[in-house]
């Protein structure tokens, strides 16, 4: 912690981290998997966006949001609305009583397109909305909460309530949102069929590139003065406040950034999987997303990606062969990570591999993101 902060953008270990992860995602996975499995891993990687946002909010900023599914879902729904409108052109929906509107609206006796669906005819609008809608909501929540110094447990519970509200709203307003089934049967994007094998491979790589862009951004944020302030806020918020910083602004920024990542992840999820439904919005998926981050290591941006891949792969493998075991395993994972490995896989890697090597080399290479020795309860809570 007392090491002199390096002026370089990357230390060698961080650069190696990027290279290894890039090799895994861009080379190893595509080479070893068929299209079906690759698409599955592409789906996992979309959750990694959320986990990455949580590393920033929770690991660095100390803000645990239990409603990241909301922002993942909003991004996903924005994308799905565009794709759905394209799939419901008047020619495609000629058999409906009112052609040109999405099929679920027709089933629910909605005869006109709601005004807030109209702008989603245009791809640029949809792409902007994918990021802006989650950011706008998270900004409102952030301003309302952090300005009034609501944090920690209360923030977690309120974000959880927001996840519950949005899920109930989506399911209740079936005619406008597709209800519990969500928005399904998405086909093309600007005439390009997203259901073919080729499209799935291309989307996987687009997704991977976007994930790396977000990883670089997260890395940059953490390297910057802002990142170091966030850690200071996490460890001793009042001291940072007394030093003259407006703590709320930093928290709002990082929360919005995390939610923007989640929105991008959601949009890529919709593109790769071909539908979006409330089952990715609610409380249960939101908490699962926290565990992806916790397993990988809440202080490590790479940990978020590895943790997400690991947990999801284990989930798929386990629930294929032993469906009952999965919930036990998941429960044990939650308890185990919290009790035994609070800094997750990345922490294990640091303690058992990186540090011994570093000691052996007797050279210190740049700063280490500080982990709190003891988490102090925040007096503001």
């Amino acid at each position: 912690m007392n090491r002199v902060v390096s002026q370089r953008m990357f230390t060698w270990t961080e650069l190696m981290g990027f290279v290894v992860l890039a090799a895994l995602i861009f080379v190893v996975l595509p080479m070893t998997m068929d299209v079906f499995r690759l698409n599955l891993f592409g789906k996992y990687l979309t959750y990694a966006f959320v986990a990455l946002g949580l590393v920033l909010c929770w690991g660095a900023g100390g803000i645990l949001s239990l409603g990241q599914g909301v922002f993942f879902g909003l991004g996903g729904y924005c994308m799905a609305m565009f794709l759905k409108l394209e799939a419901s052109s008047p020619e495609n929906t000629a058999i409906q009583s009112t052609p040109g509107i999405p099929d679920f609206m027709d089933w629910n006796q909605v005869t006109y397109l709601p005004w807030w669906w109209e702008p989603f005819h245009y791809l640029p609008f949809a792409l902007v909305a994918v990021v802006l809608v989650p950011v706008a909501l998270s900004f409102v929540i952030g301003v309302a909460m952090f300005r009034r110094r609501v944090g920690g447990v209360y923030f977690a519970i309120i974000t959880q309530a927001i996840a519950a509200i949005l899920t109930i709203l989506i399911i209740g307003q079936q005619g406008y949102t597709g209800g519990v089934n969500g928005i399904t049967d998405l086909r093309t994007m600007l005439g390009w069929d997203i259901r073919t094998d080729d499209a799935k491979v291309i989307l996987y790589f687009v997704n991977a590139v976007l994930l790396f862009a977000c990883l670089f951004m997260a890395h940059f944020v953490r390297r910057s003065k802002l990142g170091r302030l966030l850690i200071a806020i996490r460890d001793r918020e009042d001291r940072v406040r007394f030093s003259g910083y407006d703590v709320a602004n930093f928290k709002i920024f990082v929360f919005c950034l995390g939610c923007a990542f989640a929105g991008i992840g959601g949009a890529m999820f919709t593109l790769q999987v071909g539908f979006m439904s409330p089952s990715f919005v609610g409380i249960v998926p939101s908490i699962e997303m926290v565990i992806f981050c916790a397993v990988g290591g809440r202080y490590s941006i790479f940990g978020a990606v590895y943790g997400t891949l690991l947990v999801n792969w284990a989930k798929t493998a386990l629930s294929e062969s032993f469906p009952e075991l999965w919930l036990f395993a998941m429960g044990a994972l939650f308890i185990g990570v919290v009790l035994a490995f609070p800094s997750g896989v990345a922490g294990l890697y640091n303690d058992w591999i990186e540090t011994p090597i570093r000691k052996a080399l007797r050279r210190s290479r740049g700063p280490v993101i500080a982990e709190p020795a003891v988490q102090q309860p925040n007096p503001a809570e």
């Binding site: 209740g172 009952e324 919290v338």
Partner: protein, 308 residues
């Protein structure tokens, strides 16, 4: 909004919805009491609270079967036995959980949230493996069936009335326990100032364990009471957990009066709105209002001054 209803209809509607709201209120209070003790006094977020309730419900279910098959003569009072057993079972499990899990996490409240969520997943799957995935209901004794007609239009179901009376009794018991008993005084002493409480000879670890155990025990009783008005499945607990936390936070943690007041306002708002707009929109509006008020007044309706 009110066209087409005569004034006597409206009074009847409000009375019936108000009564339905009172049942919901009892349910919320029962769930929130245990949570308020655990969260308010200890600062632990117990996401497995719903599963402790379900344990109480399953104990009642087993009890009703046992009485029906072996001592049918006493079937009409099996519920009271079940309630005591539910308290003991959930309380014992709670104390075990505190010893195994919670006591390691007192300084990390957000981590108790994750750990107890894991616990809730494990408990859910255990219930599913033992009792099956389907919802189970218990046979209600005869004296609890039917309803009391108050006027031609207004009827009051007896099981709802029973749950309300039970809630009242439990709330009073908890208040007396916390305010008057030796244990309650110790709990409050530990909450106010842990090192000082330890210094004057209070075994804070034991107090913590008892507090957690009693909080979970009350959840068990709440689960037992639930079986009188609905059926129970392995994942029913999760449905209520957000509402319950909102009730506790909205009321102001560590304040029993606040918990009761917030449960009352939430349930009445929900129930009255439900008649005029769809149930899901009523729920959305209620939750939104609560979240909005919490943003303006983060400390909740009633606050207790606590030294940090």
């Amino acid at each position: 909004m009110f066209e087409g209803y005569s004034s006597s209809d409206l009074i009847a509607i409000f009375a019936m919805q108000g009564f339905a709201g009172l049942i919901l209120f009892s349910v919320l209070v029962l769930m929130a009491l245990g949570l308020a003790i655990i969260f308010g006094q200890m600062g632990v977020i117990n996401m497995a609270h719903g599963e402790f309730m379900i344990l109480g419900a399953y104990v009642t279910y087993l009890c009703s079967h046992f009485f029906a098959n072996h001592i049918p003569a006493l079937f009409s009072i099996y519920f009271f036995v079940a309630m005591i057993l539910a308290f003991i079972a959930a309380g014992a499990l709670g104390m075990m959980v505190e010893w195994l899990l919670i006591r390691h996490l007192y300084r990390r409240p957000l981590d108790t949230l994750l750990a107890t969520w894991g616990l809730s997943l494990i408990l859910q799957q255990t219930y599913r493996s033992v009792f099956g995935a389907r919802e189970v209901g218990v046979t209600i004794p005869d004296w609890m069936m039917g309803s009391l007609p108050l006027t031609d239009l207004i009827e009051v179901p007896i099981n709802g009335l029973f749950v309300m009376v039970l809630t009242f009794a439990i709330a009073v018991a908890v208040a007396i326990l916390l305010m008057k008993s030796q244990w309650g005084k110790k709990v409050r002493a530990v909450t106010f100032n842990r090192p000082m409480a330890g210094a004057v000879g209070i075994n804070t670890e034991r107090v913590d364990r008892m507090t957690f155990g009693i909080g979970c025990g009350i959840a068990g009783v709440a689960g037992a009471a639930f079986t009188m008005i609905g059926s129970t499945g392995p994942s029913s607990g999760q449905l209520y957990i957000v509402d319950t936390f909102l009730v506790v936070v909205f009321g102001g943690a560590a304040s029993l009066a606040g918990t009761i007041a917030s449960a009352f306002s939430i349930s009445q708002a929900q129930s009255l709105m439900e008649f005029f707009i769809s149930g899901s929109m009523a729920k959305v509006l209620t939750l939104l209002t609560v979240v909005g008020i919490l943003m303006l007044r983060p400390q909740g309706l009633f606050t207790l001054k606590i030294r940090n």
